[in-house]
Amino acid sequence: MKFIVSSSYLLKQLQILGGVINNNNTLPILDNFLFDLNNDELTVSASDLETTMSAKLNVESDSEGKIAVPAKLLLDTLKTFPEQPLTFVAEDNHTIELSSNHGKYALAYADGEEFPNPVSLEDPSNTVIEGDILSSAISKTIFASGNDDLRPVMSGVFFQFSTEGLTFVATDAHKLVKYSREDVTASQTAEFIMPKKPLNLLKGILAGSESEVLIEYNESNAKFTFDDTTLICRLIDGKYPNYEAVIPKENPNKLTIERNQFLSSVRRVSIFSNKTTHQVRLKIAGAELNISAEDVDYSNKAEERLTCGYQGDDMQIGFNSRFLTEMLNNLNSDEVQLEMSLPNRAGILTPIDGLDPGEKITMLVMPVMLNS
């Protein structure tokens, strides 16, 4: 097999696909890219068994062949080239020869048949969503997902599709984000839990993309197809917690505040908080929000006062400042609302402005309580 391809075009595609490859694979074949050549169409795949991503590249060729090329070696080489056409020729002695303007390089390849085949999706349902919308649904939610091996369902993002809209949920039991789109709908109701790794890949590739993404899914797998790329992954098995039940329904205390101002205050004050608990305390009375933190071990203390809009009873509530900053950081609005009921109930953070029509974001954070 033989093909000619632009070096920067190839590098760009391989760098994206390289995100799938794990650093230490138990199966050595997974350290390779699969090159599947069919005349001028080269399909490159990478896999970690759970997730397989493929991209179709246009190359100059009139031959066919299927080989597995060492990913790291190839990427390291390509990174050094300025833009130029490269010629790849597979030799009989299990090496592939790469010719550039500078010289020749031989890489040992493995038989393409050794590379695991991606699963095929049986009876899939499907939905189409714009790339950028999917990307922001992922980036708005994924930070809230957990890392607990004992609760694998919470280590992913819950996709809930219906004819009314799409909902994406992530939680680690301390914080929760629910991202809904009513402007995109599915043909039928479906629910599945996507693992983090493929989502992070999709988030990166699809940011700002106006391409349509076809999502196909069944009980155990999901497939994302867009442009010349497909990503197939295994879903997380299990039942997602009933998140609707933990969203407090009655929240008589409503605070509205400028997001950036709130965020920078929390950031500053949290520097003085206890290093293990990161607790900051919000005290709201009238139209004043008092944010304070204290590290008793070191006698460090900080307190800031902000003007806010407030309806409700005076109250005090403690939060982990890292959760607050993460959440505020993941919103783009100028103003946010924080709804609360009791100091041991979740606070609900929502953006007031800056949403697309049909877009809705609800963030929940559980408070911290004093134990002494």
């Binding site: 039991a173 009933n242 933990v246 608990t277 009791l342 911290v368 004093l370």
Partner: protein, 364 residues
């Protein structure tokens, strides 16, 4: 271990006596402190009233039936507290090892006392005389080698008397003691003991520790020891508060949960006020429900963090209220908060140096 000298001082019909002291026209008459209404309960009865079978905790209606001439007097806890303080100051003239059990009862350890008086019997007599002189009230006393026997002994020559159980008499005293008189043996335990053929201390002493543990669980070893005159519990000055609670008896039995909530709100407010006053917080909320047929039910819940605000106390109380359907209309509701942050942390907790802040989780 060195022999200790413990005195248990118990005021005679304390609340009622204070009322009779302050209102001379009540003297010599049967009186009851407490509400006289249909729903009231006697919190203390004078000796004149006790002759008619009026007892504390008895419903006012029954008390009135037993003793038609009974005079009801409203309680004045501030006044009782004031007199209790005067009495305590007398105790402190003798020893700092004073453990008050309530406003009208206390243990004193006079093994070493400020007067250098070797006779606990003499000290008890002096203290009772001083109480009489200073407050005009009668007190009874029990004197012995541990708190348990002193407590039992103070009842022997009540009212206005005292009883010393000398070390050499301890064994005999306990053997002939009726099982009902053992401190810590209530009605239910006593009946259980009767069924097992235990009527006196002697019967109790004949049982093995294993036998008692089998029948009375963790209290078994306690009974085994006390009947042998072993009760090492020290007189603990400034006894830590273990719980804080409040309750309401309603003028009419209620069955509407809306009314119950309203009452619980009031109770929670009172608890919050008292918690703030003594600067404590607790982790366990207990809801007490007394039904119209006087059966008592308690439901409790323990959380991982300390609470002291009325909102959170009410929140948990509500949860306990709705946990199960009421089986009848309710005459009394109460909330108490225990597992207080004044409890001494156990050695293990100290070692772990528990985190002071708890991150709450969603209830998935």
């Amino acid at each position: 271990m060195r022999m200790r000298k413990i005195i248990h001082i118990d005021m005679d019909a304390f609340y009622a006596s204070v009322e009779q002291l302050d209102n001379p026209e009540l003297r010599g008459k049967p009186i009851a402190v407490g509400g006289s209404s249909q729903r009231g309960v006697v919190s203390a009865a004078s000796y004149e009233a006790r002759k008619f079978g009026v007892r504390s905790a008895m419903s006012s209606v029954i008390a009135k039936r037993n003793c038609p001439d009974l005079i009801f007097v409203k309680s004045r806890f501030d006044r009782y507290r004031e007199i209790s303080q005067q009495i305590r100051s007398i105790f402190f003239e003798y020893t700092d090892l004073v453990e008050p059990l309530s406003l009208d009862e206390a243990y004193l350890d006079v093994t070493e006392n400020k007067m250098g008086n070797p006779s606990a019997t003499m000290i008890a007599r002096e203290i009772r005389a001083k109480i009489k002189e200073k407050t005009g009230l009668n007190a009874s006393a029990g004197i012995s080698i541990n708190k348990f026997i002193a407590k039992v002994a103070s009842d022997i020559n009540k009212p206005n008397g005292q009883k010393t159980v000398h070390p050499e008499e301890v064994s005999e005293f306990l053997e002939q003691l009726e099982i009902r008189k053992f401190y810590g043996v209530g009605k239910v335990t006593a009946e259980k003991m009767y069924r097992l053929g235990i009527f006196t201390g002697k019967d109790l002493k004949s049982k093995s520790e294993e036998y008692l543990a089998d029948h009375f669980g963790k209290h078994g070893p306690y009974y085994y020891n006390v009947v042998r005159g072993i009760h090492e519990s020290e007189v603990k000055p400034n006894r830590m508060r273990k719980s804080l609670g409040a309750e309401r008896t309603f003028s009419e039995n209620i069955s509407s949960e809306i009314f119950m909530l309203e009452k619980l709100t009031n109770i929670a407010e009172e608890i919050e006020r008292r918690l703030q006053k003594s600067k404590v917080a607790g982790k366990t909320v207990t809801l007490k429900i007394k039904y119209s047929d006087f059966t008592l039910q308690t439901r409790s819940k323990t959380i991982s963090y300390y609470i002291s605000s009325k909102e959170l106390i009410l929140e948990l109380a509500k949860e306990l209220l709705y946990q199960e359907k009421m089986k009848d209309s309710v005459r009394l509701l109460g909330i108490s908060l225990s597992n207080l942050n004044t409890d001494k942390p156990s050695a293990k907790e100290k070692e772990e140096k528990k985190e002071v802040v708890v991150q709450l989780k969603f209830d998935f």
